[in-house]
């Protein structure tokens, strides 16, 4: 049973073995942890050193600082605005349009299979 568990997962053109990956992950994690140990330890907690540096501006209270989810990827949604607007218009939420899409796909498939 054990050796069955340890088989490598072969995908026809490649191999994948999660346990080997896990061992590598643990080793690298230890190395990183050691490097982290060399870091500067002599800093005073609670003073200006551990304050969030907002290029000099005063830090507002906690709720206002939380970046809301809808404006987290605003750049990305701006870039994709052309496709997102098209998709938004497509997703009307109106049942007749859902049925319309079904009839359209049915028609396209009938043509596709009928002609081919």
């Amino acid at each position: 049973m054990i050796e069955m568990m340890l088989e490598t997962f072969e995908t026809g053109t490649g191999y994948w073995h999660p346990l080997v990956w896990l061992v590598a992950f643990v080793i690298i994690f230890l190395i990183v942890y050691i490097i982290r140990g060399f870091g500067e330890k002599k800093y005073k907690k609670g003073t200006g050193q551990t304050q969030a540096f907002l290029s000099g501006n005063k830090e507002y209270d906690k709720q206002l600082m939380h970046v809301q989810s809808s404006n987290l990827y605003w750049g990305w949604t701006e870039a994709l605005k052309w496709i997102i607007d098209v998709l938004k218009k497509m997703h009307t939420g109106n049942v007749s349009d859902y049925v319309l899409w079904f009839v359209v796909v049915l028609g396209v498939l009938l043509l596709f299979v009928g002609l081919m």
Partner: protein
């Protein structure tokens, strides 16, 4: 020990009969005690799970199992098969295992999740009816029986989606779901009538055999197109997916979990019809039918991912993630279909080995996605249970007092977007490598949408769990034990599938893929005389 053999011979019927019996008994038992009814529902689904695993051991060791309703043998007179017949082969038992795991976790989860709601008799009755319908769709060998179980699942799940009738959105989502399901089911019935009119048979194996003899007439093409379009709509593919985020987003979390299983049962129906019933005839002269599925899969992935970016509601976002994941399954199995079902003889499974890998990857992704998306829905339900808030913009800093839910969310997040140690990676690796060999663009789009999925769920992780502690959620406590247990069960299965993928693939997914590709095993009871 003939008790076990007796149970084994009747297992296919009992897997359907016990949840049905449980569904009818729930109103009576709730007369006795509320708690007793919840426990009874869990026990019923537990017993059904035993029967499913009993059948699994039998089917995976010695071939498909058939069960005739009404007498010990289906009478085959003048080549017409009389009586309804359940045919359980490796693929249907694979799907039944998915269905029963999801429904067991849903029942355990809703023990505490639905505690403060009223009308729980109807909730548990409908939940058990939905489990019956889903398992029936996966085990049946009769086309009309498939239609009846499809309708049972649709009606039960539409009523459950609209369970919180005080919310306008939930009732609307339920109405949209039942309208779409009814239209889909009516066109499935129309296709069944076409096939029955031509071959005087309702049994899938019989239709497959007579199709093989009489070839691919024009009526068969129309029936095939109707079935593909209707089951693709019920399976949430391509432009017909818009009911899915509404239904998943508005239903209670345990019902969204079961809806994932119901949608995948419709996809199983699509694969069963395209591969087994139309198996030997489905080759068009110039281009293969597989390209329909590949195209639908591509469009579904892109639409699902791009629409998920702009969502602000937690469960609706996971709904669009589920749509994107359905695209992967359609893409992978479609790639396999382009090789299996094409006209020119020198492209076969032997000359193009990646087709078998694509189908195995697609089926492995069916179970992985059911677990990953299911876990995310349970986490969304836990967040809703604790904070009564579903909009992502108002949530924040929940990790402080909901530690376990956050850990489960991180596991689900890493698994859904296909990161190495988890099960999503194993199946997506199979899909990337096999679709690449058919056409590189397919696997490029697949990898792209997987990265976008990771970005979207990291956004959710930040805005819901990380960030400063908001005063509004100071008093938030961790969710009760039974919900955590349900999430832990799924997270455990995800980790086990992730660390030992080859074990799962060799003795569960590969037999299912082989059963799907060559339908000789499926027809064996018919040709081998009965």
């Amino acid at each position: 020990m003939n008790i076990v053999d007796m149970l084994l011979t009747h297992a296919p019927a009992l897997t359907i009969a016990i949840p049905l019996l449980g569904a009818f008994l729930t109103p009576l038992i709730s007369r006795v005690s509320e708690k007793g009814r919840n426990i009874f529902a869990i026990i019923t689904v537990g017993i059904t799970a035993l029967f499913v695993f009993l059948m699994a051991s039998e089917v995976l060791s010695n071939g498909p199992m058939t069960y005739v309703f009404g007498s010990t043998a289906a009478t085959v007179q003048q080549s017409t098969v009389i009586r309804i017949l359940f045919e359980v082969d490796a693929l249907s038992i694979f799907m039944a295992i998915i269905g029963i795991i999801l429904s067991f976790v849903a029942v355990v989860y809703s023990y505490a999740f639905m505690e403060k709601n009223t009308g729980l008799d109807k909730y548990y009755t409908l939940l058990l009816l939905m489990t019956t319908g889903m398992l029936g769709m996966m085990l049946t060998g009769d086309m009309f029986n498939f239609f009846v179980f499809l309708e049972i699942t649709s009606i039960a799940s539409a009523a459950l989606v609209a369970f919180w009738t005080n919310k306008a959105k939930a009732v609307e989502a339920g109405f949209k779901y039942i309208v779409i399901s009814t239209i889909g089911a009516l066109f499935v019935l129309f296709a069944i009538a076409l096939l029955y009119g031509q071959y005087d048979a309702l049994n899938m194996a019989k239709i497959a055999q007579s199709l093989g003899i009489s070839g691919f007439t024009f009526i068969d093409k129309i029936a095939l197109v109707l079935l593909i379009a209707a089951l693709a709509m019920k399976g949430g593919l391509a432009p017909m997916h818009m009911w899915l985020p509404d239904a998943y987003g508005r239903a209670p979390a345990s019902i969204s979990l079961l809806l994932v299983g119901a949608t995948q049962a419709s996809l199983y129906g699509l694969f069963r019809i395209v591969f087994t019933v139309y198996g030997d005839v489905i080759s068009l002269p110039s281009i293969s039918i597989g390209w329909i599925l590949v195209l639908l899969g591509l469009i579904t992935m892109l639409i699902g991912v791009i629409m998920a970016i702009i969502q602000t509601d937690f469960k609706r976002l996971i709904g669009y993630g589920a749509v994107a994941e359905l695209g992967y399954m359609a893409l992978a199995v479609g790639t396999g279909l382009t090789i299996v079902a094409n006209a020119d003889p020198n492209i076969t499974l032997e000359t193009a080995p990646f087709a078998m890998k694509a189908i195995t990857g697609g089926l492995f992704h069916v179970i992985n996605d059911a677990l990953d998306i299911g876990l995310l829905f349970l986490v969304a339900g836990a967040v809703y249970y604790a904070t009564k808030e579903t909009s992502l913009n108002k949530l924040g800093g929940l990790a402080r007092n909901m530690k376990y839910t956050t850990i489960f969310f991180i596991i689900g997040l890493l698994a859904v977007s296909g990161l190495p140690p988890f099960n999503g990676f194993a199946s997506k690796l199979l899909i990337y490598e096999s679709t690449y060999q058919l056409n590189p663009i397919l696997s490029i789009v697949a990898i792209l949408s997987s990265i976008l999925l990771l970005a979207i769920f990291v956004k959710v992780l930040h805005s819901v769990f990380l960030g400063p502690a908001l005063p509004k959620y100071e008093t938030v406590r961790e969710v009760p034990k039974s919900m955590l247990l349900a999430m832990a069960v799924i997270a455990g299965i995800i980790i086990v599938f992730g660390l030992f993928p080859q074990v799962i693939v060799t003795n569960l997914v590969e037999p299912a893929a082989n059963a799907l590709v060559n339908n000789s095993g499926y027809l064996q009871w018919l040709t081998g005389g009965f």
